[in-house]
């Protein structure tokens, strides 16, 4: 019973990371829509208002541009605000602030002012949500110099990455794959646990093919890796996790070893994050690749409403096919 109680879901890990960060550092504050009494629509901030009070857990008016702008402002004062955008589909009103200010304040002032801030947002589809509640547009942020983009794929990594993101002196876009908010429970390490923000995680070593993914897709990839292992194909599975800055060294080292690379993501294929990885692998390992780099991704269409969303999401079958194809099947 108490053992089980220690196991946490991804969303609970987020909640705990926020709690610990606020406990350890008075400059950490939380703001957003419904983050107070309601504890966030996914309960990421549950209990924080009662524990840390209204001044540090702020229900804002319904205004994403404002949330981003005030987060920038607060952070120039050395506070460490963690803003929640309720769904990634509503983050676009933040773009001018994130691109124009959060990403630039340090460079613009040559280090005089900085933005040690985090913007958290649940992202991705697969939970039968209404329109605008299933987007994954991490590529838009990855392209912007000065932003960090981080995506956890397990409770442990959610905790370790979020703690690091909050402590990091630069702005971090922290995207939480809501499809796996509650599918897995893990015992979390203690509160000193941190994970680096510039390193991919090799979830499984392998020798025949490198499977590169992040976020919720890690689950389907793990399943495919398992299946292929049974068929005698040894796949190295990489969870990119820190989309920006992108740790190409780990990916390149892996593909140098395996000679094959498949990239999986949920966002629309064209001009997505997978394109950059595919381009880099293809160019840098031109002579080492045994097969063309393949991408399995969302189609270049708006995420369908939920009746049809499963047709959009990369599934095990598509991933498996792409892997097999790398062996000429």
């Amino acid at each position: 019973m108490s053992e089980a109680a220690e196991k946490k879901t991804l969303i609970e890990a987020v909640n705990l990371a926020l709690d610990h960060a606020m406990e350890e550092d008075r400059d950490v504050v939380v703001l957003g829509e419904d983050v107070g009494t309601n504890g966030g629509v996914f309960r990421a901030t549950q209990g924080l208002k009662d524990k840390y009070g209204l001044r540090r857990v702020m229900d804002t008016p319904l205004a994403e541009t404002l949330i981003a702008g005030m987060t920038v402002g607060m952070s120039t004062q050395g506070m460490k605000p963690v803003a929640e955008i309720q769904f990634m589909g509503f983050i676009f009103a933040c773009m001018e602030q994130l691109i124009g200010h959060a990403a630039r304040m340090r460079n613009r002032t040559r280090g005089r002012l900085t933005c040690p801030m985090v913007v958290r947002a649940p992202f991705g589809g697969g939970i039968h949500a209404p329109e605008h509640h299933s987007e994954s547009t991490e590529a838009l942020f990855a392209h912007i110099p000065g932003l960090r983009v981080v995506i956890p794929s397990s409770p442990v990594r959610a905790y370790g990455l979020l703690r690091s993101a909050i402590e990091n002196p630069d702005p971090v876009i922290f995207l939480e794959p809501k499809r796996i908010y509650r599918v897995q429970k893990q015992v979390l390490p203690d509160s000193d646990f941190r994970l680096p923000l510039d390193t991919c995680f090799t979830l499984r070593e392998g020798s025949d093919l490198t499977l590169v993914t992040w976020g919720a897709c890690v689950r389907e990839c793990q399943e495919v890796v398992r299946q292929l292992a049974e068929e005698g194909i040894s796949v190295e599975l990489i969870d990119v996790a820190t989309i920006k800055p992108l740790d190409m060294d780990t990916i390149l080292a892996s593909v140098r070893k395996t000679g094959r690379c498949v990239i999986v993501h949920e966002a629309a294929r064209s001009f997505g994050v997978g394109a950059e990885i595919a381009a880099r692998v293809s160019t840098d390992l031109f002579h080492e690749l045994h097969a063309p780099v393949e991408r399995v991704a969302g189609y270049d269409i708006t995420m369908p409403y939920y009746r049809m969303e499963k047709h959009y999401l990369p599934d095990e079958n598509r991933i498996r096919q792409a892997c097999l194809q790398a062996f000429g099947n």
């Binding site: 629509v41 404002l66 589909g89 039968h128 209404p130 064209s270 270049d300 009746r307 598509r318």
Partner: protein
């Protein structure tokens, strides 16, 4: 630092008398002499019937959600009145620019209930039905519809048409720049648009007083040069008076108006929400005493226009109408997968057609 100004005067929040309009009190009794048109039985009974139908449609949607037959659904329980009024008063070729809690209005505009169900059932075709005319579909990103409304109103003006755009939004939406920027344009250009703010006191868990420090939301109009008024949003007579005047005025080219309709969200924010987490029961109980359906029913009774028999008949009728819509909705087959690709551009580019083939083939290869 020394200054000599008398802060008392300088530092008050400016608010002159934003009118508050009400005709029927919570108990269904007139609070002031009723306007002439109220003597039209058809109108008043029509409002009643429309609210009852909307409420049944709403109840059914929640029931379907609970049984896995529908996705997340935002109930309009308690705020049926504004919709039935604007829905009745707008001309067919006016344009409604709704938010997502406008079921009662959309029904009166001619939208099929089965289409509304289809939309919340996760199917784009729910916004495609003929019943919409040129009305915009539900708008999920808060307040963004306000920009569309002033754009549509601009189109009317450019073309010299005597049409009016009516746009709705919640109390929370008034904090978002989109609403305020649109309001400002409407004031500057004197556009034929009516902004109907349905203040149901809550934006999910955030109460009205955390949205805005001003005593009324209506007065957002002041800074934009747009006349503004508060109205009892559960009183169809007051709503008719105010919305009717605003539409008429806009149609005459006299410009925009902000109407803050004071009502209450009796249900959860959506079926995914649990309002007991953040909302005192007491408040909800009190709000039930103000709700619009009972209020109008009481008045109709007293006026002799409504009987228990009529009520029974109406209940039966709306249940059967709603049930038909449910059946139509539930029997709607899935769309073709090509539907997911074919409406991104007037002519689908070759790359997208190839992706569709890929989807059909279940292959990941480009």
């Amino acid at each position: 630092m020394s200054t000599s100004l008398d802060g008392g005067d300088l530092f008050r929040v400016h608010r002159d008398d934003i009118p508050y309009v009400r005709f029927l009190g919570a108990d269904g009794q007139p609070t002031q002499p009723l306007p002439e048109w109220v003597n039209d039985e058809r109108t008043m009974v029509g409002y009643y019937k429309a609210m009852v139908k909307a409420r049944e449609a709403d109840r059914k949607a929640i029931a379907m959600q609970r049984t896995g037959q529908m996705g997340t659904y935002p109930s309009g329980l308690g705020q049926e009145a504004p919709g039935v009024v604007y829905g009745s008063l707008m001309n067919k070729d006016d344009v409604l620019v709704p938010y997502y809690r406008d079921l009662s209005g959309q029904l009166l505009r001619g939208v099929e209930l089965s289409d509304i169900y289809l939309y919340w059932g996760g199917d784009e075709r729910g916004s495609a039905g003929e019943g919409y005319g040129q009305d915009l579909p539900n708008c999920v990103p808060i307040a963004t519809q306000a920009g569309h409304a002033v754009g549509i109103a601009s189109a009317f003006r450019i073309r010299g048409e005597q049409r009016v755009a009516v746009t709705t939004c919640g109390d929370g939406a008034t904090s978002k720049g989109d609403f305020l920027e649109a309001l400002n344009l409407a004031g500057t250009w004197q556009l034929p648009v009516v902004f109907l703010v349905v203040n149901n006191q809550w934006a999910i868990s955030v109460p009205r007083q955390i949205q805005c420090g001003a005593p009324t939301l209506a007065q957002k109009g002041a800074g934009a040069g747009v006349p503004c008024v508060q109205v009892d949003g559960n009183d169809v007579v007051a709503l008719h008076e105010v919305i009717g005047s605003a539409i008429e005025r806009a149609r005459k080219g006299k410009g925009a108006m902000v109407i803050e309709a004071i009502t209450y969200r009796l249900g959860d924010h959506t079926t995914a929400d649990d309002a007991t987490r953040y909302r005192p029961n007491d408040e909800v109980r009190k709000a039930w005493e103000e709700e619009p359906v009972k209020r109008l029913q009481t008045w109709l009774h007293q006026r002799g226009w409504w009987s228990p028999e009529q009520e029974t008949a109406l209940q039966e009728q709306v249940r059967s109408e709603v049930q038909k819509a449910v059946e139509k909705y539930l029997s709607t087959p899935l769309p073709e997968t090509s539907d997911l690709f074919d409406y991104h551009f007037a002519e689908t580019p070759i790359g997208l057609r190839q992706q569709h083939e890929e989807m059909q083939g279940g292959l990941s290869h480009e």
